[in-house]
Amino acid sequence: MIWLVILFVVPFYAMLAIGEGKLDRQTESPVAVYLPWNWSSANLANVWRDLFGSGAFVGEIAWRTIWYVALASVISLLIAYPAAYFVARFAGRRKGICLLLLIAPFWISYMMRMLAWIDLLQTNGYINKALSFVGLGSPDWLGGHWYTVIFGLVYGYIPYLILVLYAGLDRIDPSLIEAGRDLGLGRATTFRRVTLPLSRQPILTGMLITVLPMLGDYYTNQLLSGAPNTSMIGNMIEGQLSTPSAGQGAILSLIVLVVLLVPMIYYVVQTNRAAQAAS
């Protein structure tokens, strides 16, 4: 068994280490520099200047990314929590079918789901037809608007959030809630004092699971808007890949990685703790 592990872990680890390590060595763009003492900081300086200096266009994109992702994840949570809560606690006999429908988007390709909305949001699409029917005009949804992008992000990532929340809420012992009610708390107070603290963990995990991929998302944006005035950090990185400034893309993704390391490590620690609690 052990040799199996070694046989596997080494290439896996090597691959990951190279993958991650490679980036910081990739400082001088098309040519890779492998020796740390030969590294040049030109790209880093460039990216730094773009991020924080005058004329910092990347800085703007970074802020926009954070703003979009924050808004999208809060909206997702506001939608996902009640739905997950209902299915976990009240669905009763319909739980099976609800669960099936909640899980269904998980099996539908992301591209398919975006395509569906592209169809609907076209200038002469069904959404606009419905809107002009009630006299609200027909806005150009796909013309590069922040709300379309955020809408796409919410729609795209909410199934993952909802599944995590469902799994967490389903584990809450209903007798705890009943006890809260028996002790004279009203609905709202029971929810606030009992259910919400118990669901803090699933909420955090769920948020991580949606926020992290959202930060690396470039396709939602590209499909639903495509305009530079809504581009996010992912678009930046992806756009630089096959150009001479690939090195800057590498630095940029490295920076994103470093920033995200804290929440990611938090997630890993939580997972390990949960695994230990289970065993």
């Binding site: 991650e20 939608i79 669960l99 591209m111 599944l163 289970a278």
Partner: protein, 312 residues
């Protein structure tokens, strides 16, 4: 069961007036608002898909207005149907090929990884475990970019180049954590007793593996294979960054680049529908298979559902 009975009883007495004159409200009344909200959410999440599927049968060229039923975009159209456009049907086969290869490679590796992590204590395995879970949450774009550099710039690995092999290697690395995590969870619930009993009865390590552990782990392995397979069908970022030409571009990337390039049309909806069907067939097989394998255990439909989705 009993709580529903109580709830019924309470609601039968719910129109009794309280001393304060306010009508007594059943504290366990059904949250109709939440229920409505949930159904609304479900409609919102699934109706667009149904409409997109409908458009794949559109007679006209539009993705926005429906003009009647036809098979035009599946095989009727001589130029741009899935059947006649070589790019579209090669994308279909590419997806299947990638899924099959990735599953074949990633599942055994992941199972071995889980066994190793679970049975071998120390700093080294736990740090490997750390990396594995980390690979679960790293944004796919960053991982893809790293791989892109490995396969285009790194000496040695550069020879592989981007294309089929790079895609398979990338997907294996990305998906290996599924079997590793699921099988590990299963190992924890099984405990060590079975193995120890087998060893006491004189089994060698290999016999224990094959005759005891493997049958116990089969449902978990199967569920993770299903997850990996369907995960690869739906994967986009890695294959987008690592595909080099039309012959190794799978369905998701075709949909993205064609639609983004402004050449979208119902043929793309047809392709997406094929993809959807494929995923559902895999999921259905997974569900049935899982039920079959866990026959005699206390596993109900809902548990089987969550198992093949990886929520458990």
């Amino acid at each position: 069961m009993s709580s529903t009975a109580i709830r019924r009883k309470v609601s039968a007495t719910s129109d009794v007036a309280t001393p304060r004159g306010r009508r007594f409200r059943n504290p366990w009344r059904h949250p109709w608002f939440l229920e409505g909200f949930t159904w609304l959410y479900l409609v919102w999440s699934l109706a667009p898909i149904a409409i997109a599927v409908l458009f794949s049968f559109n007679k006209g060229k539009s993705q926005a207005s429906y003009q009647g039923l036809s098979w035009r975009w599946y095989w009727g159209d001589k130029v741009n149907s899935i059947w006649h456009n070589p790019q579209l049907h090669s994308a279909m086969f590419e997806t299947l090929k990638l899924s099959a290869w990735t599953t074949l490679i990633a599942v055994p590796i992941g199972v071995a990884f889980a066994l190793g992590i679970n049975r071998w204590r120390g700093v080294l395995p736990s740090s490997f475990n750390f990396i594995m879970i980390l690979s679960f949450v790293v944004p796919e774009l960053i991982f893809g970019v790293a791989l892109f550099f490995v396969f285009t710039k790194m000496p040695g690995l550069r020879l592989i180049g981007i294309g089929n092999w790079a895609e398979v290697l990338g997907l294996v690395t990305w998906n290996v954590s599924w079997p590793a995590i699921i099988v590990q969870a299963r190992l924890v619930t099984i405990g060590r007793q079975y193995e120890e009993a087998a060893a006491d009865l004189g089994c060698t390590l290999w016999q224990t593996m094959r005759r005891v552990m493997l049958p116990l782990l089969t449902p978990a392995i199967f569920a993770s294979a299903i997850l990996v397979f369907s995960g690869v069908i739906d994967d986009f970022v890695i294959v987008d960054l690592l595909s080099s030409n039309a012959s190794n571009t799978p369905m998701s990337v075709i949909i993205y680049s064609t639609q983004h390039g402004g050449n979208g049309g119902p043929a793309l909806n047809a392709l997406a529908t094929v993809m959807l069907l494929l995923s559902f067939v895999v999921a259905g097989l997974g569900y049935l298979g899982y039920r079959l394998m866990t026959r005699g255990q206390r596993v109900d439909g809902q548990q089987a559902l969550t198992a093949i989705t990886g929520t458990e």
